[in-house]
């Protein structure tokens, strides 16, 4: 059943073609702006933060291709959950014989899959046409390994990003207006996730802080895997960290959800 929900969600987002194209244009435009600023910086400081110029440019375009996929700038499908919590419809959802978190995970994964396909390909190809990007290197076996690790890492990034946004959405049970929390989430996730600049460019204190926060699992880890910044054991460890964050954050979501549901029962009684 969850697979069916996921597929319907994919189709739902595929319906809005003009909106998709509009977003593709915006992501590509921002890609150009950021790519040129990176280029200016890396021309002065080649190999800054351990990235050479083409790795840094690839980093930019992976970011633009993943922007809609991991829904950094919004809540993705969880906008709907948030509205249902605020207007009380969530009470009906709780009657249904499905798991609330599992349901919304399926909806959001369907959305993410569509966004990766629709908003990922065009910016990436445009970037590859206009700049010298770096593809995985080092023989067929190794390249296949990198692509496989990257694909797995993308899937884990989608789950971690969902788990974080689920927690943000649940705060609606207490706050009703979650725009403030959402803004804080956007700032933390994009900055500490390495979305604006790779975290290796931060001053040491901030870099250390970013390393222990879950946001790197949303963007920096998959990008670094693609750019082959880990050796084989390192790559496995990085995937392990992502998996650990996914489990911990989904668990936290269940815990908070349990408390929130009690609150609904009290209000509704």
């Amino acid at each position: 059943m969850y697979a069916a929900v996921c597929a319907r969600s994919f189709r739902r987002y595929a319906t809005y073609r003009a909106a998709t194209w509009a977003r593709v244009v915006t992501n590509t435009a921002f890609g150009f702006i950021i790519a040129y600023t990176y280029q200016a910086l890396w021309q002065v400081r080649p190999h800054l933060g351990g990235y050479d110029l083409s790795a840094a440019l690839t980093y930019v375009w992976i970011g633009q291709a993943m922007f809609a996929f991991i829904a950094v700038g919004g809540q993705g499908a969880l906008d709907d959950l948030q509205n249902r919590i605020t207007n009380g419809d969530v009470a009906v959802d709780l009657f249904r014989p499905v798991d609330l978190q599992g349901w919304w995970l399926s909806v959001d994964l369907g959305r993410a899959g569509y966004q990766l396909f629709a908003n990922g390909l065009v910016p990436m190809l445009t970037g590859a046409l206009c700049f010298h990007l770096r593809l995985p290197q080092g023989g067929a076996v190794q390249e296949a390994g990198v692509w496989a690790a990257f694909a797995l890492s993308l899937a884990l990034a989608a789950v971690v990003s969902f788990a974080l946004r689920y927690l943000v959405a649940l705060t609606a049970f207490w706050l009703l207006d979650v725009r403030g929390v959402q803004l804080v989430y956007y700032l933390f996730c994009s900055f500490f996730g390495g979305f604006f600049l790779p975290i290796t460019l931060f001053p040491p204190l901030l870099e250390g802080l970013a390393g222990v926060l879950p946001f790197v699992a949303v963007f920096q880890v998959p990008a670094d895997l693609f750019l082959q910044r880990y050796d084989a054991p390192g790559a496995l460890a990085a995937l392990g960290v992502q998996l650990a964050w996914a489990v911990v954050l989904l668990g936290a979501g269940r815990l908070v959800q349990g408390r929130a549901v009690l609150k609904v029962v009290v209000q509704g009684g």
């Binding site: 809005y16 073609r17 003009a18 909106a19 194209w21 509009a22 977003r23 244009v25 915006t26 435009a29 921002f30 150009f32 702006i33 040129y36 600023t37 280029q39 200016a40 910086l41 002065v44 400081r45 800054l48 207006d177 725009r179 403030g180 803004l183 804080v184 956007y186 700032l187 994009s190 900055f191 604006f196 600049l197 460019l201 931060f202 001053p203």
Partner: protein
């Protein structure tokens, strides 16, 4: 219409009056919840601070970007933020036009005896957007304190014209982009590439970008007149494109052209609008 010029003036005055009334209404509504108002204002400020944090981190690694120093880039950052912030404050709500076309509530706007443009521009007027203006103003102040410019009356005049004309140019892009949503209701995001994307671009020196892109901002959507070209004069820098010298002072002309283009687009949009009639 015996006196078309007179009737145009009447329309403009009526629009401004309606705009002022609606703005007052939304401001009073927002201030009814002062805690929420201040939180969102500071939130807006924090969100725009992040752009500057990125610039600051970049300058941890280099003394100059594209040949421009940190105070010079801060000048671009401040002027880009102030002009976009003011335009967003004055007419930014219009980007919701596509939503109104889709849900049909634009019909209500069109049947009211007040010009639609004034109603939509003032709709959900959000004073909290001043957050960006204040924060960018602070960065601009820091920049001016560190640039050590020799001020002349001409430079002062160019600064005033920069803020006014920059706001008008961004405002025209908001209106033109919104009018575009009469044709493609779902395309609100495209507008963001020109407004927020444009403002992000203007935070960095023109030397960072490929020459063809900079040419596009001179002859295409003339965002270069918002701050790049006036900044060349105020900061006393040479022009990487070798444009005619008077281009640095041509922001008022560019602003006029933008307003005319946005006005034409708006009229075309309104005329093409067909209600679903349900």
């Amino acid at each position: 219409m015996a006196d078309p010029a007179g009737s145009a003036t009447v329309t403009v005055l009526r629009s401004l009056r309606a705009y002022g009334l609606i703005v007052r209404m939304w401001t009073r509504a927002a201030l009814a919840y002062p805690a929420s108002f201040w939180m969102t204002t500071f939130g807006n400020m924090a969100a725009s601070v992040m752009d500057f944090v990125v610039i600051a981190v970049i300058f941890l690694h280099t003394g100059a970007l594209g040949g421009w120093t940190l105070p010079q880039v801060a000048f671009l950052y401040g002027t880009s933020g102030i002009t976009l912030g003011l335009a967003d404050l004055l007419v930014g709500s219009m980007d919701q036009l596509g939503v109104r076309v889709r849900d049909g509530s634009i019909d209500t706007v069109l049947v009211r005896p007040v010009p639609a443009l004034a109603q939509l521009a003032a709709d959900r007027f959000a004073l909290r957007r001043l957050g960006r203006v204040v924060q960018s103003g602070a960065v601009l102040g820091w920049s001016l304190a560190h640039l050590g410019l020799a001020w002349t009356p001409e430079k002062l005049l160019v600064m005033v014209s920069l803020v006014l004309c920059g706001t008008v140019i961004f405002g025209a892009v908001f209106v033109g982009g919104s009018a575009f949503q009469f044709f493609v209701a779902d395309a609100a995001e495209v507008q963001n590439s020109f407004t927020y994307g444009g403002a992000t671009m203007l935070q960095y020196p023109p030397t960072v970008f490929a020459k063809d892109i900079v040419r596009g901002t001179v002859y295409g959507v003339p965002l270069a007149f918002v701050n790049w070209l006036p900044a060349l004069y105020v900061l006393g820098r040479s022009d990487p494109l070798g444009l005619p010298g008077w281009f640095r002072f041509a922001a008022p002309l560019a602003a006029l052209a933008c307003v005319a283009a946005a006005g034409l687009l708006w009229r075309a949009g309104i005329r093409s609008y067909r209600s679903t009639g349900s």
